[in-house]
Every structure is written in C-alpha cells, then in structure tokens.
C-alpha cells in the first residue's frame, strides 16, 4: 500500500504533509509514540526542503517547487517514507552531526534537524535520481521482527 501526496513546498503545507505521514504510520499499526517519532523525523526533512531546496531555483523558469511525499507500509512491519524534491542537489546526510556534548554557550543553534531524523528512524538514505533529491526513511513497527522476504 503506497500513498503519495504532492504539494508545493511551502510552510503552509507542512501540516497537511505531516498529517499524511501520521495517518500512514497509524494505518500501518504503529503505536502513538512511534507515530510521533515518525512525525518528528518527517517534519525535520520537510522543513529542510521547504527552506532550502528551491532557494536557488529561478521561480519563473525552474521546476515547480513541489514536495512528493510517499508513504509505504510493509505488511505492518515497517513504514517507509520518501520525500522527494526537484531542487538544487543537496544531501542533508553529508552534514556532520552536532556535538551534543557542548555546553550551552558553545552549542550551535542549528544542525539538530537531520540528527533527530537519524535518532527517530531506523534508517535514512539519500539518493539523487533523475533531477530529484530523494530522502528515504524507514521505521520498523515496534515489536515486529522482519520476516524473510518472499521468494
């Protein structure tokens, strides 16, 4: 079961996109706490795309600033979420993690978003494909162990 939502990459659409992810995780059988972790990871990725993906793109001639959000449920075992945009090539996973041991005066104000994604999801991967940045995240439904693949 795969559901894709395509909306323009604006902050106004953040809630609708997050609701889509929330519903998919819930429908896949995740408990509320895990759903919220998925939601948090999704917000971080979406906000990055909304803020940066199309910043260098010419509004008149560039690709339409859209976000494609796909949610897939693997038979109640795991949720896979993909966020794709046609903006400037950028791999958010390239950035180093923030140093979470620094005292408050030395902590950088930013950098937490992708770090939280990595903490909340079981796997995160980036690829550049046909002019799109695609970030894919997977979270296993707690309590489920993966079954062997169908042959």
């Amino acid at each position: 079961m795969n559901k894709t939502l395509v909306l323009s990459a604006t902050l106004d659409n953040l809630e609708a996109l997050m609701a889509h992810g929330r519903e998919a995780a819930t429908a896949c059988g995740m408990d509320p706490r895990a759903v919220q972790q998925v939601e948090l990871a999704l917000e971080e990725v979406l906000v990055n795309v909304i803020t940066y993906a199309y910043a260098d793109v010419d509004a008149g001639t560039g690709p339409s600033p859209a976000i494609e959000l796909s949610c897939d449920c693997d038979k109640g075992r795991a949720v896979t979420i993909s966020v794709a945009d046609q903006g400037t090539a950028f791999n958010p996973l390239d950035r180093p993690d923030p140093d979470t041991s620094l005292p408050v005066e030395k902590r950088a104000v930013g950098g937490l978003g992708i770090f939280l994604v990595k903490q909340m999801m079981d796997s995160v991967a980036y690829r550049r494909s046909r002019g799109r940045n695609v970030l894919t995240m997977v979270k296993r439904c707690p309590g489920r162990s993966p079954e062997p693949p169908d042959i």
Partner: protein
C-alpha cells in the same frame, strides 16, 4: 500552541501547551524574548501541556538559554512529558538545561 505567562516576584513563569513545530516556533520565540526584553532574566518554563516539540522549538530554547546566560540570568524547565524529555535527551539538552519534574522543585532550584 498556547503560551501564557505570569510574573511571580522576580521570576517569569511561562506555560507552554500544545505543539511547537516550525510554524508555531516563531511565535514562542517572540513571546519569550519580549518577556526578557521587559527585564526578566529569571525564567521558569513549564512544559506540562506540551505534546510535541521539533528542532524548531529546540532552537528557540537554546537561543533563549544563550541570551539568559549572557546576562547572568537563570532558566529552569519543568514538567516535561517522557516523550518530550526523550527529544531533549537525544539532543543533549538534558545535560545543558536545568530540568525538574515539578514546578515546585523548579522554583526551589532557582533560589538555590
């Protein structure tokens, strides 16, 4: 997202409830900074009703903490729900913020 506050002696008590995400974080930032602009640099933030916080909210808190620290102010947080505490913990914030379970304990820590 609801943010209210009251002044108790020298301390600003700030109450957060609802959700802090990328859309509501700027409002929280503005309101808390206005309180500090009014001369309050002893602050307690009560998270009792807060159900969700993302990095946008954490950024507001770190900016507020830096601002208060720079003026020798004090900041204490209290009443974080476990799922909120988890986000703080993963981010390293439990080590750099003063966090208490109850408002009573939090106020006592400000006087210590």
């Amino acid at each position: 997202m609801t943010i209210t506050h009251e002044i108790s002696g020298q301390t600003a008590l700030v109450y957060l409830s609802g959700r802090i995400d990328a859309q509501s974080a700027p409002g929280v930032n503005e309101e808390i900074n206005q309180i500090i602009d009014q001369g309050r640099n002893r602050m307690l933030i009560n998270f009792k009703g807060l159900e969700y916080i993302s990095s946008a909210g954490l950024r507001v808190l770190i900016t507020v903490a830096k601002r208060l620290k720079a003026t020798s102010g004090k900041l204490v947080l209290c009443s974080l729900e476990p799922k909120i505490y988890e986000v703080f913990d993963v981010s390293g914030f439990t080590a750099i913020f003063s966090i208490r379970d109850t408002q009573e304990d939090a106020l006592a820590s400000l006087d210590a």
